[in-house]
């Protein structure tokens, strides 16, 4: 597959999209871990929801 004289523009475009999509995925995954960790810490310190159910349980 030859990308012709503008190969650098094509490759840069695809790499940039890959980088931004990966950044979004990692950012969302890390945010999930951060929120569930904070909820577990709060529950461990005796702060629970009025319903009594675990706030970190997403199932």
């Amino acid at each position: 597959m030859s990308l012709g004289p503008y190969a650098s523009f094509i490759v840069t475009s695809y790499l940039l999209v890959t980088a931004v999509v990966l950044f979004l995925i990692v950012w969302i995954a890390l945010d999930y871990r951060r929120q569930t960790r904070r909820l577990r810490e709060l529950e461990a310190s005796g702060i629970v929801r009025r319903s009594g159910r675990s706030a970190a349980d997403t199932r």
């Binding site: 503008y6 931004v20 999930y32 702060i47």
Partner: protein
């Protein structure tokens, strides 16, 4: 089950989280498979007789450009949900969608520039289409700043909903800018009266990539909504903790 019943059921964040936990693995797999097919088809697509291999940039630029507007449309429906129906998850949906929409808009602008340099001879032109998409990007950033600036989530939700609906005026301007004004950007070539002007060898990879990116948005959006619900639970537990300590 009617749509109203479904929406009422999903108004319960716990039920929504349970649904998300079940659906996300399937959505992730479907997105990955479709993206792989789309990228394979894009790689095999022939060169355009005018653009050469640069046409391959279209397979990522166009889906990102469509999604930049689609995400704002989703946020506008959510804004109505916040202001009119006071749906508990409406603001969660809007807030979670904004950074994803901003990312798609950023990618549409940059990949468009990278296509424009070899094809138009310039990275940027202040024409109606490019400028209105840049305004959309700035509006996404403004909304994200607003959510961060206002401490009380319900006040932030109402202000953001109003701003989102005002910003929706930009969507038809973006869509029809190429018809209303004389722009460097070409007119619509897929969704137009009389059918697409693209050859099947370009149209099929483009549509596959568009569906793949749409699935990517749905997957990321559901995951980000789940995070936002958990963030609000953290906030309410922290407030309970603070009030106990004060008592």
């Amino acid at each position: 089950m009617t749509l109203t019943t479904t929406l009422t059921d999903l108004a319960n964040p716990t039920r929504f989280l349970s649904l998300t936990a079940r659906v996300l693995p399937w959505l992730t797999a479907a997105t990955a498979i479709l993206l792989a097919i789309g990228l394979y088809q894009s790689a095999l697509a022939p060169d355009d007789y005018q653009q050469g291999a640069t046409v391959k940039i279209m397979f990522i630029h166009v889906p990102n450009a469509w999604l930049s507007m689609f995400v704002w449309s989703v946020m506008s429906v959510a804004a109505l949900g916040t202001l009119v129906w006071r749906h508990p998850l409406a603001d969660v949906a809007a807030k979670a969608a904004a950074p994803i929409g901003a990312a798609f808009t950023f990618l549409a602008l940059v990949t468009g520039s990278l296509w424009g340099r070899p094809m138009w001879g310039t990275y940027w032109e202040w024409d109606a289409r490019l400028t209105s998409v840049l305004i959309l990007f700035l509006m996404y950033l403004g909304l994200m700043a607003l959510w961060r600036a206002v401490e009380d989530p319900s006040r932030a939700a109402r202000a953001a909903a109003v701003l989102t609906l005002v910003g929706a005026i930009n969507l038809p301007i973006i869509k029809f800018s190429v018809d209303w004004w004389n722009t460097l950007h070409q007119p619509a070539s897929v969704f137009r009266m009389g059918g697409p002007t693209l050859d099947r060898s370009f149209l099929i990879p483009l549509l596959v990539m568009a569906v793949a990116f749409s699935l990517l948005f749905v997957t990321l959006h559901l995951a980000a909504m789940r995070n936002e619900i958990l963030r609000r639970r953290v906030r309410s537990l922290q407030m309970m903790q603070a009030s106990r300590q004060a008592a």
